[in-house]
Symmetry: C2
Subunit: 563 residues, 2 copies
């Protein structure tokens, strides 16, 4: 009926918890969307009266392909009372199929305007991003009261959900059977700090704490998308060629490899560095040329941003992705990366600032300042996106139509004039026809312009929207650590920690702050570069646009006789 | 309830005609709009089931001033069943007051867009133009069947109504008690043909028959509108100063004098020369600066067009209007003009073509060609007006708002950037603020542009719409004459006319055709001049507009650092 999921691991329910026992390979139906930011648990309130059957389990999401063209997700919210499990058929091969839902992250019904800006999030009407290798954890509880308890239980394991304002849910990989232990106190109180080559030093630059930047900047070119297939052509996919400027040797990757990389980066660096989501996965029409071009452009943008980050660019997993030698090399590297234990907050164990420790009050102030700034910028970016989207629609819709009508009206009048039978008005009628055609050309120019300028302005702001959307989580980790340090005295008094541990915690939160500052400075420097570049590009193309129109009109004007 | 009218002359109903006896000074209520082109009588069909009480009478229209601000005309069409007469109170002083109706000749609700193009016919929601001195003849009949009969009766007296497609009705002055006798046969069969100074010769020019053009072209300047008053300030009006290039001596005229001139010209030349209506009379807000400026501009356009017409420019009545020496001179000239008997079709008695008589078949073909052309041009002109009106609304409404929002969005993001605390991004934030301000300036430019270019394009096309609207009547006179000539043999056979009269009729219809051809050639030459001029002006301003924007954007672009 609704979404089909395939159970990946056995789960035995505990009595009294309204849980559900499921077996590996079994197909279950998920009857209701669970929207919960585990750091807040506020959204639970919106679930109020809905009865949901609880299961703690790990599912591979398999959308039931709906052959009649209807959105299989449409019933998702419409059927809150159905049971959690049935044995209805899933796709035989278990692969993911599905359709973009009618919703659109742009807020406006972009689907009604096929020419409207097709930003990322085209299919974020779906309750989560569907990553093929993603293990989704669904927590479905029948009693809202139980929810908070379970949330708390779950919070302590520090697996986090992230919900964007557009109900786009990206779910962190859930490693079964053990949770990665990475609550902030895990780092604040841990015994060992990484040494040697894994160290991430932070220097004091002109602008404050900065990461160690490499002498030559890594970059790569994502190009040449090719359709590949496996299982004797039963499954087809697009493979992109990625060529780093270091080796200049291309490697091939499918989208799901990018997704795997994203997950590794998020897992390893997410607490310290905002890792922007990949461009959305579009399930239908995956092989349409336009879509492939757009995705490639966005993957390029994402890769370039990752390359520009000194910590990410030099990381083993990122280097593996860009420079693996052969399939075996890749497989080995993959397995190693997946076993990496310096993930979550433990990344801070590798950070080593050169400067003196910071006062916890200063740490807190900086953290709040960053929070304010990123929030404000998020608003500013979204405003540009909203305005830009409307402008896009106008420029590709009513405006060129109007210019076309003006052009047609001039031409029509001109042909009426031609029919007058009056001698010697060819100069006028020719000029009027030319003027009319000029307005038709202007219509064309207007309609095509957004692709030349607004597109990049939108893409850049979109990238920043994604990036800024990661900050609340990153900053959240810091806030949680600050809170722990603030209750240091109480923890010492109640013998939860030793006085020495309290000192260590303050020292470590200072290290975290240096990391956050280095990251913010990295963000600012990139932001200045990016906005300078995109504004220049936008204005340059706008100048060209208006100059072209002026030149065309001047030419049209010259055809009239001066009397 | 609806419109109030004051009876100017006694009228005694004839029994059985459903007429109504009214007395001078009595107030009547007109319950339904009468839309009827007397030359066609087609619109009667639209009156179908409505019951209207008939009155043949002459009324001074006095709109009941509605103090609560509602449109007193709104009930006009809503109450078709009410009686034609009641004694409800008219304005105590009997002067005209009223309000612009909600309807708008532009079709779209321009009142909702105060910035939308306010073309003529701003208040043509009113069923007729309300000229203070106009004697309106209302023919209100109860039985649709009776209508045609009365129309015919009325047609024979040759008083004509003219109805534009927007239901703007301008009513020819009705001279009470005698009708001016001017049916086409009146000329075709008349004994005397004017001689001497009144003659209007037609020469053969390169393009065919042409009027005699004066060596130097008459022109005049309408300027300096001044508020005047009479009756100890009880009545106030606007007086315009008109200075002809011949005497260079200004004369003063109120709108009602222009209207008087229009009536005289229509009366005298209307059968041979299309006399465009004056700019519409606006009853409310007569002294608002904008309105006075607009009316003056249009009176200037109307006067210039009249000056450019060789027949009109040299006519006694037009010369009187432009060059009267004093009030006495004016009064005497007025009285003389009003007594002129060479009006209606009798104008053709003054026309003397130099070329040989035309074959009636050729006459008919030419007449039909002119009819086709003016109809086609009317359509073309209206298309431009429609498109232009929409473009006007877009340019003064949503488009600048959007540019403003783009500008604001850039500035907002810039001020967020300023709050970052990051060093050395003033160049970027200053440039972004400047770019934002540039888009706000562009918004202003866009909003103001229509006044600079579209305005003249609209005004010219509007003038032509008015002019073209006169052709059906002018051509109708010719068609009626041709029809009479075509039945010449039958008329001779039935002894209605003598064989000699048949020959005279053919000769005279040939003279009429020369006049029509001369008029068409005059029209074409003016049309070519006007459209060449207005298109040049439009394109010139459009070029300036786009160049200004390009320059502003280039300036904004230059403020970003090249990296």
């Amino acid at each position: 009926l609704c979404a089909q999921a395939q159970v990946l691991y056995d789960f035995t329910a505990e009595p009294g918890n309204n849980e559900l026992t499921v077996k590996e390979g079994e197909t279950v139906t998920i009857t209701n969307q669970v929207s919960c930011s585990l750091s807040a648990c506020n959204t639970v309130k919106s679930l109020n009266s809905t009865v949901i059957v609880s299961i703690y389990t790990v599912l591979r999401l398999t959308l039931q392909a709906n052959s009649n063209g209807n959105d299989p997700w449409s019933a998702w919210n419409a059927d809150p009372s159905a049971g959690a499990s049935n044995n209805s058929a899933s796709n035989p091969d278990g692969t993911q199929t599905g359709r973009a839902a009618a919703g659109d992250s742009w807020g406006v019904a972009a689907q009604g305007h096929p020419q409207a800006y097709q930003g990322p999030g085209k299919n974020t009407g779906l309750p989560f991003s569907l990553n093929s290798s993603l293990l989704l954890l669904f927590i479905i509880l029948s009693v809202p009261g139980l929810w908070n308890m379970s949330c708390r239980l779950f919070l302590s394991t520090d697996t986090s959900f992230q919900i964007s304002p557009h109900h786009h849910v990206s779910v962190l990989p859930f490693r079964f059977p053990g949770f990665s232990k990475s609550g902030p106190e895990l780092y604040l109180l841990c015994k060992q700090i990484a040494k040697g080559k894994d160290k991430l030093p932070i220097y004091m630059g002109e602008v404050g704490p900065v990461w160690l930047y490499p002498e030559s900047q890594l970059d790569c070119v994502v190009a040449d998308p090719k359709k590949g297939s496996k299982m004797y052509g039963l499954k087809s996919y697009i493979e992109y060629q990625i060529t780093p400027n270091t080796t200049n040797r291309p490697v091939n990757h499918r989208y799901k490899h990018f997704d795997w990389l994203y997950e590794r980066l998020l897992d390893k660096f997410g607490s310290a560095i905002p890792i922007p989501s990949l461009p959305d996965k579009q399930v239908t029409g995956r092989f349409e040329e336009e879509f492939i071009k757009m995705r490639m452009e966005r993957l390029q943008g994402w890769m370039s941003r990752m390359c520009r980050h000194p910590v990410i660019a030099s990381s083993e997993v990122f280097q593996l992705f860009l420079t693996y030698k052969d399939e075996k090399d890749w497989k080995t590297g993959k397995r190693k990366a997946e076993k990496d234990e310096t993930v979550g907050v433990m990344i801070f164990t590798t950070i080593e600032p050169e400067a003196a420790d910071l006062d916890p009050i200063e740490v807190e102030q900086k953290c709040e300042q960053f929070n304010r700034f990123t929030k404000a910028m998020d608003d500013g970016v979204k405003e540009i996106l909203t305005v830009g989207h409307e402008h896009w629609k106008r420029c590709t819709g009513p405006l060129p139509k109007e210019y076309q009508r003006i052009g047609k009206a001039f031409q029509n009048l001109s042909s009426v004039f031609t029919s007058s039978g009056y001698q010697g008005e060819e100069t006028l009628t020719d000029a009027m026809t030319a003027a009319g055609k000029t307005y038709e050309e202007i219509a064309q120019l207007v309609a095509e312009q957004p692709k030349k300028d607004l597109h990049f302005l939108m893409e850049t702001n979109n990238e920043y929207k994604g990036l800024l959307g990661c900050f609340p989580d990153t900053i959240g980790v810091h806030k949680a650590a600050i809170d722990k340090v603030k209750e240091g005295d109480k923890l010492v008094a109640t013998n939860k920690i030793t006085p020495q541990e309290k000192v260590t915690m303050a020292k470590r939160v200072s290290t975290m702050s240096y990391a956050l500052q280095a990251e913010m400075n990295h963000f600012h420097s990139n932001r200045i570069y990016d906005y300078n570049r995109v504004m220049q590009l936008y204005l340059e193309e706008q100048v060209k646009f208006y100059e072209t129109i002026a030149a065309k009109l001047r030419q049209a004007h010259s055809q009239f006789t001066t009397m």
